[in-house]
């Protein structure tokens, strides 16, 4: 029987990272919950991934020009990095500050942006926004290089407010006016890039942020009730102190780390699912001076978080990466490494290429009949490979429990090893009956290994395994 510390640790690792093997969960539970939260919140304290060997085999991972190389590299990091929250927060911001390869056609430039999310994603929100405003991939994606003093393009100015910081409204009221959008966009004229992004015809080169003061509208602007000759930095400073920004960031953190909320456009008129936690996070946003790390410390240590187990549908990246972390099969160069990477795309999440600037629809909307079959077939295929180190470890661990393992214990043992999954009563009964029908076998035998493998396959095929 698992003790509560282990169960809670399994939950934390699924949310603050991409899950963990049973051994890792036990080890971390022994260290303690709050200490583990602190370790996760400071990924820089852990060694970064050693990439020399991978670079020798995965040639594309050095220059990072192809979308597949970028997706493969990121998947590899999700599965193998000991800095789990670094990759999780990177995925968090990538789902909000969306930039897509379908327009940029230069995934390396997006990877540079992701690297910044890795480095600063747990830091100060205002700095993150400012970096985003100067990010070449974002500038190109939202056309800000086409926004001129005399011909303002409002694309970036609008999305900065609507999607990246404040949201259209809260508590039933709008957060800003069309004039605010116009003036916001004016303040960012002249914020451009040194090289247009698409690669043709002169080959590959990185783009750089460029401030062109001659193309900047430095006239007076009124923005959210304040008036001045605002430049982009001033606008971001004003945005960062808005209560709507505190709310929007808090709600996004809850939606991503705690429990699936309705889709973002509904937030103006739908109250948050956990208002008390949102209030705490808003308070921490101001108290800490906009520090995401501080907000997450409050979040992970809250009872709401601890009690929100399996309240989210796994994203495709979570489903694939967490399954691979359980099987331990994606840890070094191997043939067909891109197959699981492609699965993430088949399940509806083309990393570095979200469908629109609004990002992916999450929660239950990840799932349709096509993607559900992909999810089930992928997970069952992985778990059936009893020679995989992670599956082997589960078999050995359960086998060491005794000579004969009862059907109940076989099921519960597998559920525990996968990270304390819970099944509904009917499914439980069905799986126990199934284990009974195949007959008891002794640990250490091939028959037992087969039995565990089958049980794992059935568990990852359930509705329950779709949740995190």
């Amino acid at each position: 029987m698992l003790n509560e510390d282990v169960k809670l640790m399994a939950h934390l690792m699924r949310r603050a990272g991409f899950g963990a093997s049973y051994e890792e969960i036990e080890r971390r539970a022994a260290v303690g919950y709050e200490a583990t939260v602190e370790e996760l919140l400071h990924p820089e304290g852990q060694p970064d991934l050693e990439m020399d060997v991978m670079h020798r085999y995965m040639h594309g991972w050095r220059d990072m020009h192809g979308i597949m190389a970028n997706q493969g590299y990121w998947t590899y990091r999700m599965v193998n990095s000991s800095r789990q929250l670094e990759e999780k927060i990177c995925a968090f911001w990538h789902g909000i500050f969306c930039v897509g390869d379908s327009k940029c056609q230069k995934p390396k430039q997006i990877q540079i942006q992701l690297d910044n999310f890795r480095a600063k994603g747990l830091g100060n929100f205002a700095i993150l926004l400012l970096d985003l405003a100067k990010d070449p991939a974002m500038i190109y994606y939202l056309d800000n290089q086409l926004s001129h003093k005399d011909a303002v393009n409002e694309n970036w100015g609008r999305e900065l407010l609507e999607l990246f910081s404040m949201g259209v409204g809260m508590d039933g009221a709008p957060n800003y006016t069309e004039d605010d959008v116009k003036n916001c966009a004016r303040a960012f004229t002249g914020w451009t890039i040194s090289n247009a992004i698409p690669r043709y015809p002169y080959g590959f080169y990185d783009s750089e942020f460029l401030y062109n003061e001659f193309d900047h509208d430095d006239g007076e602007k009124t923005f959210l009730g304040e008036t001045g000759n605002f430049n982009g930095e001033d606008i971001i400073e004003i945005i960062a102190k808005q209560p709507s920004t505190a709310r929007f960031v808090s709600r996004h953190l809850c939606n991503f780390f705690v429990a699936d909320e309705p889709q973002v456009p509904a937030w103006q008129n739908t109250p948050p699912m956990h208002p008390e936690l949102i209030t705490e996070l808003e308070r921490e946003y101001y108290r800490s001076g906009y520090e995401i790390r501080s907000m997450l410390r409050v979040l992970f240590n809250s009872d709401v978080f601890k009690n929100s187990r399996f309240a989210k549908v796994k994203s495709p990246a979570e489903l694939v990466a967490s399954t691979l972390r359980l099987t331990g099969t994606f840890s070094g160069p191997a043939p067909k490494m891109y197959e699981p990477v492609m699965e993430i795309r088949y399940m509806g999440q083309d990393l570095l290429n979200p469908p629109t600037v609004e990002g992916w629809h999450t929660g239950a909307e990840w799932v349709d009949s096509g993607t559900l079959l992909e999810r089930i077939n992928f997970a069952a295929g992985q778990m059936g490979a009893t020679e995989s180190p992670g599956v082997r470890a589960i078999i050995d661990r359960l086998g060491s429990e005794g000579i004969e393992i009862s059907p109940d214990r076989l099921l519960d043992g597998c559920l525990e090893m996968l990270g304390d999954y819970k099944l509904n009563d009917e499914t439980r009964l069905m799986l126990i009956n199934h284990a009974e029908s195949t007959g008891a076998s002794s640990g250490g035998t091939d028959a037992f290994a087969q039995q565990v493998g089958q049980m794992l396959q059935l568990i990852v095929s359930t509705q329950e395994y779709q949740f995190t």
Partner: protein, 380 residues
Amino acid sequence: MTSLKKDPVLVVLQLSGGNDMLNTLVPYTNPLYFDNRPNVLIPEDQVLPINDDVGFNPNFESLKNLYDDGKVAIIQGVGYPNGNRSHFRSMDIWHTCEPEIMASEGWLGRAIRDLDPNQENVLTGVNLGRGLPRSMAVPGVPVASVGSLANYGVLTTIEAEEQRNEALDIFARMYSPAIGLGPVMDYLSQTGMDGMKGADILAAGVADYSSAVEYGSSSMSQYMKNIAQVHTAGLGTRVLYTTAPYNSFDTHATQLSAHSSLCANVSRTVSDFYEDIKEHNASDNLILLLFTEFGRRVHDNGTGTDHGAGGAALVIGDAVKGGLYGEYPSLEQDRLDNGDLAFNNDFRGLYATILEDWLGLDSKPIVNGSFEKLDFISKG
């Protein structure tokens, strides 16, 4: 479906990468063609003439036969304003009918929703290939996406047959609609059952398929064969889709040899497909649309051509009024769009024709507006 009249069916074959209009539909008597294509040209004597101005690529022989039978409508100069030269973005635009903003709803997903508003058939829309093209994706609209028809279904990754059968039996019971487990769990259960049902119906439906036609071995040919299998199984599928391998038409270099074999493959595949459904007495209620995201640069680059604008689309079927539609875009220097053929035919008009005159749907909410239709569907 008790009426004797068969429901109209649309099949789409997406030619990804940007098919070269100039060498598909060759303006073989226009000196400007030869001026612009010093290296990447089809010699006049090899062209299969359609009229005195244009002719098919020499590898389009079997397609030319279908054309001569009056079953092929050629939509010339098709595109949209301010053509985007990015494959992905341009394909998005063709998929979502939104050239100005990034949109996420696909036109065929919307059509499927309108064809089967109560979601009575889990196979109203079927894609052949892994992952759903954006054109078929609309949240809440189920579409089967079949990577391998021979091996499509639940738990196909369990190899041992007996073990898989046991697992399937448990799966069916696990996912049988539960009560009171919460809306998301119920939704997942229903979705799992839909997926399984669709897979079962497909497997049973195509089991008896046989044909005298022998398709080629390319993935495009095999997927078109799969489409014929699904269509002839009479499962009520109304929209079927497949994509020629990832950007294969992107002929920046060594175009002449690459494009020849692409054309030969398309031509043979299409005529095999037509033969097949004809043999099964199932050709009268189906039209096939072939499109690409853009044409290619008018002037060649030495051995290939770069991304361009206006292209050509083909609509093929018994119900199609064969012939040339729209105008061939001018090759005059001052009438080019940044060195590319200017479009003169908005693709949303092509879609509107298919949606309204073939599928009997209101096209405006699907293609986001009113566009001039073409008259290539025979009313009858």
